[in-house]
């Protein structure tokens, strides 16, 4: 099997803010086709700075990032925006137009697409996120948060970026809304081939949806791999002040009884319990 060519390659990336604060230190990271990644770590660990470097808003102070073969240091924001989209944590920090239509059309107009193409992109993006026509003339500000988030995602999708980074997609949502948003991102990933990166503190969501997890702490990457094996590294998680989901913690505390440290779901836990219990009876 051929290994897919990475879409994003970050090499020895260091980022320093003008005041001298180092927010990223020697980051090496790749994102490839088929990736659905959770980026986790404490507030201030560098997750958002990394995202802004990946979409070219920030340029690395040292090292380089190649996106689709283009070096972000020498690539226009316009070219970057159609490759890597970043959805803000708080949709209100991103939305500024007075109608849903104008909000979604803003990006395509900005890259000077012809009018018919803009319209097609807006309709398509709205349909993908499940916004119906009745919302087009509404003011985004007056929509419920879940819908505002969809408008924010649609306005990014309208630029058709191959990779989409969503910052805290489930914050302020109830559990059902969180699952709906994550199912929606999964559909974008599976049906339309987008590379998806979510930044989140919600570990049960990570366990359920992200195949790969990148753990950051102190401006560096502490772990990067399949979610199951990252969650199994209890020492590294503790160093980053990250607690895996409850069910994973339970399995880890009972590892000596035969439970796998990388247990990700209640279902997996029940299956292990039953086979261990059967073995004890035998």
């Amino acid at each position: 099997m051929m290994k897919p060519e990475p879409y994003v390659v970050a090499e020895n990336v260091t980022f320093r803010y003008p005041d001298g604060t180092v927010a990223l230190r020697d980051i090496n990271l790749r994102f490839a086709e088929g990736d659905f990644v959770a980026l986790i770590g404490q507030n201030g660990s560098g997750k958002t700075t990394l995202s802004k470097c990946l979409n070219g808003l920030f340029k690395p102070t040292e090292g380089r990032i190649l996106v689709d073969g283009l070096d972000t240091r020498h690539t226009s924001i316009t070219k970057m925006a159609v490759r890597v989209g970043y959805v803000f944590q708080n949709p209100d920090h991103q939305l500024f137009n007075s109608t849903v239509w104008d909000e979604i059309a803003y990006g395509p107009r900005n890259i000077q697409l012809p009018k018919a193409e803009v319209e097609e992109r807006v309709r398509e993006a709205a349909e993908v996120v499940g916004l119906d026509e009745s919302t087009f003339e509404q003011h985004p500000f007056f929509l419920p948060k879940g819908l505002r988030q969809r408008v924010a995602i649609a306005s990014i999708l309208a630029l058709r970026p191959h990779m989409i980074i969503v910052d805290e997609p489930t914050t302020g949502q109830d559990v059902k809304q969180s699952l709906e948003i994550m199912d929606f991102l999964t559909r974008l990933h599976e049906e339309r081939g987008h590379i998806i990166v979510i930044i989140t503190h919600d570990m049960p969501i990570v366990a359920r949806y992200a195949r790969r997890t990148v753990l950051m702490a102190h401006s560096q990457i502490l772990a990067d791999g399949p979610t199951r094996s990252v969650f199994a590294q209890t020492d590294v998680l503790a160093e980053a002040f990250v607690e895996p989901p409850q069910i994973t913690q339970l399995a880890q505390r009972c590892a000596d009884l035969g439970f796998a440290a990388g247990t990700l779901s209640v279902q997996e836990m029940l299956e292990q319990f039953r086979s261990l219990a059967a073995r004890r009876r035998a």
């Binding site: 109830d174 559990v175 836990m269």
Partner: protein
């Protein structure tokens, strides 16, 4: 135990909507209890909080029926000043409550309004600042600190007024896991050391459950279930039908119980520690 808050067939409908946000609510909250209020967004959780501190009906247009008693008196019978000495509300959007130019002024503002002497203000600052870990922020404008820090500042400024009843509307949404744990540790201390009555509206059940004495499920304007925390989660199938998803340990033992693999009369463990101990017993001794 006496009820420090009592809703009696309380209904509130906002003028702008047809359906009541809260519909014939009967609910009692005991003094000194920590009560978790859960339910989908749009179920009336924030409306319930505003109805306790009097923002409803004072600041909202709508139709009110029934009664809400706070410490034995109807909410409408209090002046706003009297009520805010009894009920402290931490908003889900901390910026909504900020008025001052520095974090320190923000925390002091409420105490000054209570007319506290300077020595008492200083005493309370010395207590609340380390408790909420806002020391390094004191000179900064409250709207310039990070989301998680804003939530801690909002909490500090309400705690400084030492209200006997504390209502927190999603106090940890912007916090990372460590910050979240810290907030719940603060609540635990308040309960233990000051016997505060604390009402927490929260989606993240993992930290709430070990702390909460009672749980209330609000579902589109109705109280569908209110009970002590452990029996509340014995109704897991019912809860899941109403979009409540429990932490993994509770769900795991619930399934074991359903399948007869965990004693029917044993309580569901509510923490990882409890769950670990029960699991070791089930699989035979210390393993």
């Amino acid at each position: 135990m006496s009820a420090v808050i009592r809703f009696e067939s309380y209904t509130w409908r906002y003028s702008r909507t047809k359906q009541p946000a809260l519909d014939a609510i009967d609910l009692e909250i005991e003094e000194g209890a920590i009560v978790g209020i859960i339910g989908p967004n749009g179920s009336g959780k924030t409306t319930l909080a505003y109805s306790i501190n009097g923002l409803i009906p004072r600041q909202e247009m709508g139709v009110r029926k029934g009664k809400v008693y706070v410490m034995g008196r109807e909410v409408m019978a209090y002046t706003p000043a009297e009520l805010c000495q009894r009920v402290g509300l931490v908003f889900s959007d901390p910026e909504a409550q900020f008025t001052a130019m520095t974090v320190e002024d923000e925390v002091v503002f409420g105490m000054e309004n209570l007319g506290l002497p300077i020595e008492e203000i200083e005493r309370r600052l010395a207590w609340v600042v380390p408790l909420t870990e806002i020391g390094p922020l004191m000179d900064k404008p409250p709207y310039e600190v990070s989301g998680g820090q804003k939530q801690r500042v909002a909490l500090a400024s309400v705690l400084a007024m030492r209200p006997p009843i504390l209502v927190l509307d999603e106090p940890t949404t912007m916090l990372d896991p460590l910050g979240r744990r810290r907030v719940f540790q603060v609540l635990e201390r308040l309960k233990r050391e000051y016997q505060s009555t604390i009402i927490v509206i929260e989606h993240s059940l993992e930290h709430l459950i070990p702390l909460a004495d009672h749980m209330v499920l609000l579902y589109y304007g109705k109280v569908l279930l209110a009970d002590e925390t452990e029996p509340f989660f014995e109704r897991l199938a019912f809860l899941m039908e109403h979009d409540v998803f429990p932490p993994g340990v509770v769900e795991f033992f619930y399934h074991l119980k359903q399948a007869g693999e965990y004693p029917a009369d044993a309580p569901l463990p509510l923490t990882v520690e409890d769950g670990t101990a029960r699991l070791r017993e089930l699989l035979g001794g210390k393993g």
